[in-house]
Symmetry: D2
Subunit: 378 residues, 4 copies
């Protein structure tokens, strides 16, 4: 028999759905000791919370996250609020002894993140941050290949995360749908929203970053704010690019924007090593491109691995070779790992501490964009 | 409140899982009047049935499909057995007044299929066959584009379904895992297994087929049968290709094999019309390639549409632009349509009658491969 | 010092240009004993012949091919006329002791081709047919890989040659530009024009074909003939598809059309063997796709080899890795091989005799399309 | 009758061949008033010069470039020497009243470049720099599309030029083959060799650059120098990346390296505008990717334009639709334009003055890499 793990979900937006779907599906496909139970969902609007609960089978609702955290029947809190609430909720949850699954980015800035790390570590509660792309099977395979030494010494890393959904000047900022454009709720623009993903994967695959130089831009300077109905200065970064040096000596370029016409959510990464190279992109997330220098010279080429086989990470749990999974499965994998790690008493990366490293790079990037100087990550 | 639709599932293999997952997910993503209830799963082996029921939440099990059909609390029967049992179960279910969702192909041959059609139509029960690829959003969009007249007069249709999983001579035939290699259980090889998919889509997109000329081959002549432990002649077709003429005057080539090294489940289709062309393949099922002759001459090219937007078929129910869905979602769409059609009193294609047309082409193909002559579909 | 080889060119159209360019370039890039000299070009229209001669540096012109052949200062005759003149010119040239480079297809039919073979063999003159795709480096590499045994037992071969340039009903037939639509000049439509290329490559890569079943279609039934200004029945095949069995047991599908909207000259081939597969297409002719089953299971995938390295066939003669060559270079390679073979006293494939095999398949295909039966190649 | 333009070629390496091939071919394909005559080739080694002259048909040789420039029968000097000789030769040629076609980059640095500009402008001689990628038809088409306003306001530009040929530590520096690794001959590493190409195209397509921040790296610190046989410090940059802001407000990232395993000469560029985006890469130089936001929402996608039609830039001079040209043709186009411009009395871009702008960016990049600061281009 599986053991229940009672989930308290805070938020019901895009990420609330993605995580809830993962909780609902995971035990159908993974053989685990624990089973998430959808105990309660919390949102300020009771009607919306109830509709969400009805749809997904949450047993109850709350309209105050403090009430949720206070409940004895909640084992783990999932934080799917805008970024500006992560810190307060996480600290309260930790103090209440709850496990925490926090949506990325960890926090508004390094100072918040450090406090959050101290609190969860003091409380000794399991904690993880939903940088879900680590668990796209192609990316997980890349990690394994690097650890096997298949790339050798790394020379280059490059990543972009390109979108085009905010190009229209008519788009407002703020509110439930567009809080990502409101610096007060989001902290930053593409840096925390998109580059944070790129950085998390990069740190995981290629180790720490030494220093960065960056630039940001806000192409549309003013947008109507949904809270006031007035045009207000846009304070977030619409685009951000930076150069970096990794501790292993590799050079890197990173770029993110919401103004790259034609790209919906094109997260691509490439890593070049002495012995081989890898490439991946989110628009075809079930493929990994691999160049193996060990192949006989005249038969060398980039190999497109269709990541749908039983010996690819996570894939034996799904269908049969050739049949692809999608975006949502990365969250299922994250939950599956979290539950397995819980049974084994292991932390589940990225922990808050791991995610703090990403936050440090984000802060350094924004700092460099302001100062025009190279900034070291300490 | 949603109305329950009690499902009785017969079989628990690959398709049993795929369908059950669809029943479990559909109401989380689609707003429907009906809600599937996992009432009972049936398998000869009680322990396996129970394990499957436990995993997925089926309320009960049966070990005899006749018992399942006899139950008053079952509204719809889902047939996921090997092909040789479809006819008998479907007829019994129809006579018991159950709705039927039958795995493809409909039957072992046209004669069986005709009997099944007569019975479901006499009984007046809702019936559908799981040719799931119609409901891959890219394929659904292709259908809409053709109906909008975007391709104009059709000249050519071509489809292949290429796999490579049976190349080893060490693979046995028969048993739960490999009944597809056993003619007694499967009826045919790639023709009923793979080409049937290609034909169903083709008939849906491009109308009826007039006549065909075909060839088949069995590359590995003998395999150990799991039932006897003895080497036995392989009676199924390892590969099959045919030429066809459609009623609309288009020419077509179809090919399927399990001996195309490098292809796991590469179902590709292409349709060429006077005004444009479309291309799709299952290995990147979230993309549709479109050539639009109306584009200005020097800017013409094949356009890769990333089928992840809210205005693409079914996609508003899922995530946000750029985030792909996978194979399993085609089944969710099939269930969603079935439930919506049920509420609206409409049939859900492909019905048994629709699937019989595919069966007619399959039989004509196998007949032509034997006779070496063109065979008309009547 | 190089030895001159005096070329007499008959025709000045698309192929006349392509061959002449090859003669003009070959010694700049290949170190050869022989050097083509552009001695004379022949065309019925003296002004056009002179303009062509001036442009390319032909030393003289003729307006009667018999006069050209009669000249003592011509070593080799290049036949770039419409197909219906190949036979007569080739036989006359052979009897005059000239080497012959004949544009493909060899002849209007097998009977003509057999006569041509007998004559060149009786005369003992060097002869070759311009099936230029053999000498696209990617295709040449495919040949080497097959000979090295990299694919193992071959199961499948498939080729298409898709164009879309004759879809308009306003296009006339006949005349210099459109003789390919006139059966009297071309013999057949896509079968001799396009499928002949596919067949030549297939026979070269995969050996002989046993038998075929085919269909053809003429989508536009009447077109104005440029000779009469009247609408006349179109006698050529607009599209042709056939199934084939190779002598090595492989199955094959072939298709060609000028009605595949979106494809300009998409010649693709794929060959599937037990140990690996290869894919190539003319629209990206500098790439070869290779699937190697010997790769470790979870790193298997289709590899795109960028055929631009010094160890790829012919490529050491051109630029540096990464810099692609194009269509015209296949002709340069053909000339380079012809000249090297001449010095070495070897025949240059495809000889007339080799090309006759392609003609036999073409005839069998057209015969099958008429009769509706499988036709054997003898 | 065409007018002769007597060419004096200095150098006989990779670029000497590429340019000479262009001179030899251009009049066969382009109808021009002028015709290049291969008058003389100059190299210090007489035997090598003679071999090159024999191969290509140069009428004479010189072993001292000053002697070449002194000849009355030379109209235009083509400079294909290592970079450190460009300045001296160009100035001497200008003073002798010769037209100059100079291999890129223009000079070792801005100071040299400014002097060269002054001299050619004072002399009033035609001058151009061989940034050949402007005349790849796909890139030329991109230029036209931008000028037609098809992209609208530009937000982003990105370019990389990735190679992998110097990864081995065993490669020496210096000498004829490897002068590009020797700072004394090359001036810089990838910045002048590869990024200069990217910058030239970028300035042409997107206007001037305001400022940059850069980093460089030399992965292999010491290599044997061919001149001394001793290990010496490598002074060139193996890799260079920079961020830039264009004057039109667009952000840009540029990167180049010779350590990106798997890439032979992958020059890619992408430009994102409000109304559309374009992408191109040198490994498939005959294709241009185009995203047109004006397409109906659900049919939007990246369109791959196969640049082989008569209405694509330069392509009517070559073959027929579908048949690709290659790298070498960009040089033919450059010569064709130079000759047409000469007849029309127009300058041929990039002129020395245009190329100086690229030099300014290169110098600013190297300066920034040293200082760690943003550097403005003045």
């Amino acid at each position: 028999m599986t053991k229940p793990l009672n989930i308290g979900m805070i938020g019901y937006g895009f990420m609330g759905r993605a995580h809830t779907n993962a909780y609902a599906k995971v035990n159908h496909f993974f053989d685990l000791e624990y089973r998430p139970v959808l105990k309660a969902v919390c949102a300020r609007d009771a009607a919306k919370a109830q509709a969400f609960a009805d749809n997904w089978g949450y047993e109850s609702i709350e309209t105050d996250w403090r009430a949720l955290i206070a409940r004895d029947d909640i084992d783990a809190v999932d934080i799917c609020t805008p970024n500006n609430l992560h810190r307060e909720i996480a600290i309260a949850a930790a103090r209440a002894g709850k496990m925490i699954l926090c949506e990325k980015p960890l926090s508004m800035n390094v100072a918040e993140g450090e406090e959050m790390c101290r609190e969860v570590e003091k409380a000794g509660v399991a904690n993880t941050v939903w940088y879900n792309y680590r668990r796209v099977p192609a990316v997980s395979l890349a990690k394994q290949m690097i650890e096997e030494g298949r790339l050798g010494r790394i020379f280059h890393y490059r990543a972009v995360f390109l979108q085009d959904w905010t190009i229209s000047a008519d788009l407002p900022q703020g509110g439930q749908a567009l809080w990502r454009l409101d610096a007060a709720a989001a902290g930053s623009g593409v840096t925390g929203d998109l580059l944070a993903h790129c950085i998390d994967t990069a740190l995981w695959l290629n180790g720490g970053i030494d220093n960065v130089t960056a630039m940001t831009e806000t192409f549309i300077k003013e947008r109507v704010h949904t809270a006031t109905g007035q045009k207000q200065k846009v304070e977030i970064d619409d685009a951000c690019a930076f150069l970096a040096r990794f501790r292993n000596g590799a050079l890197a370029t990173f770029e993110s924007t919401r103004y790259a016409r034609g790209h919906k959510a094109l997260y691509t990464l490439e890593i070049n090593g002495e012995k081989g190279s890898l490439r991946w992109d989110l628009h075809d997330l079930h493929r990994l491109e691999y160049f193996d220098y060990a192949n006989e010279s005249r038969y060398r080429g980039w190999r497109s691995i269709h990541i749908t086989d039983g010996d690819h990470p996570y894939m034996k749990h799904w269908w049969v070779p050739g049949l692809q999974i999608g975006y949502e499965h990365s969250f299922v994998h994250h939950v599956a790992d979290f539950l397995a790690d819980l049974a084994a008493g292991r932390p589940t990366g990225p922990t808050f501490r791991d995610a703090l490293e990403t936050q440090k790079v984000c802060d350094a990037v924004l700092d460099s964009a302001r100062s025009g100087r190279w900034v070291s990550i300490t």
